[in-house]
Symmetry: C2
């Protein structure tokens, strides 16, 4: 059944989780699709349809129980447990990623950091000793991380991604600006700020004078 | 007409641009929706449908002219011109963004950098003098940037976003992990690596043993 759910639906679930988490912290017990949609720029009908893939949540006209819906979404997304990640690329971007405070509270922990640059190897960054990319395969046997983060330049990204896949990584967060290839059983998501910018310029291209 | 096009379609166009740019560099003249879809994990029918919003491209069974389709997509997305951006937040992440080589080749130029931290103010980072957030409104009258990048901690992000909006910014790239509010005429895209991770764990949560 899971295979029939469109990927765009899965992509929206973490956004619902984020909004519901805020509501839960505010002590809210119930929210309806109207209000949730208003917060997220999604139609209420879309929210109801997205959730309908996973069974019945909430009663007609009564809204959703915030705590219960949040728990269900955590289960669905597989984020009730902790996930281990390895980072490849400890340049400026890689250091920002290692220092990023948003991963740990959500259960994502960077357990290994690798780089090609022998100057960086051996250095401690945010409590982790940077290791050489050459020892990635053997280190991975101990770390057993299922997630990889790629923060290397475009030119070496595909090679690094191949190494991660061969080492057993099943999902990759790719910061390198390339359209990478992975086998069908491996997931990849690109963090490409240019793609986000280009999809916004569509909307503003005719507004106001060019600077 | 533009308003009727689903946002998910607009979000895919930059991905097509990226793939077509690679094909153009390889000297390819023509590509069909089958091959393009194969490269991107999108069905050929989806590609044809997405492009059909903008008129007729390519002839039945002949594929798309790579150069012409690329030019059309550049026009549609408004990326034939250069765009100016201001960055707020010159911490570790902000510095990685300033040093990121992927913006300029795509026509996105950071023309101003601002921070609350008085220690950072006055420093030169990647050729830009960091200015105090207090002077953002007056600086913006000269810079006339339509795009803003937010790389400040979550706690101050909404306030910074409000300042950018008041200063005339029409599109915001938000790296802070908050669900920010903007007026209806302002676009915002979140760069949130956790959302990307959470949408991948859905697919791998039952594969293999937990680490």
């Amino acid at each position: 059944m899971a295979l029939e759910i469109p990927e765009v639906v899965i992509d929206r679930l973490p956004i619902y989780v984020r909004a519901l988490t805020v509501l839960e912290r505010q002590g809210r017990d119930v929210v309806n699709s109207q209000e949730l949609g208003g917060k997220l720029g999604v139609t209420p009908a879309q929210i109801r349809k997205d959730l309908s893939y996973f069974g019945r949540f909430g009663k007609q006209g009564r809204g959703y129980n915030v705590k219960r819906l949040l728990e269900e979404l955590h289960q669905i997304l597989g984020i009730t447990r902790e996930w281990s990640m390895v980072l490849v690329g400890v340049g400026q971007l890689g250091r920002a990623i290692l220092g990023y405070g948003g991963f740990a509270p959500q259960g994502f922990r960077i357990v290994g950091a690798f780089d090609v640059d022998s100057a960086a190897v051996g250095e401690r960054v945010d409590g982790l000793e940077v290791k050489s990319i050459d020892v990635l395969p053997e280190e991975m046997r101990q770390l057993r991380a299922q997630l990889g983060i790629v923060a290397v330049p475009a030119a070496s990204a595909q090679q690094v991604i191949d190494m991660l896949v061969e080492s057993g990584v099943k999902a990759i967060l790719n910061y390198a600006p390339i359209a990478a290839h992975v086998p069908p059983d491996v997931r990849i998501k690109d963090i490409d700020p240019v793609l986000a910018l280009q999809s916004m310029t569509f909307y503003i291209k005719e507004s106001g004078a060019a600077p």
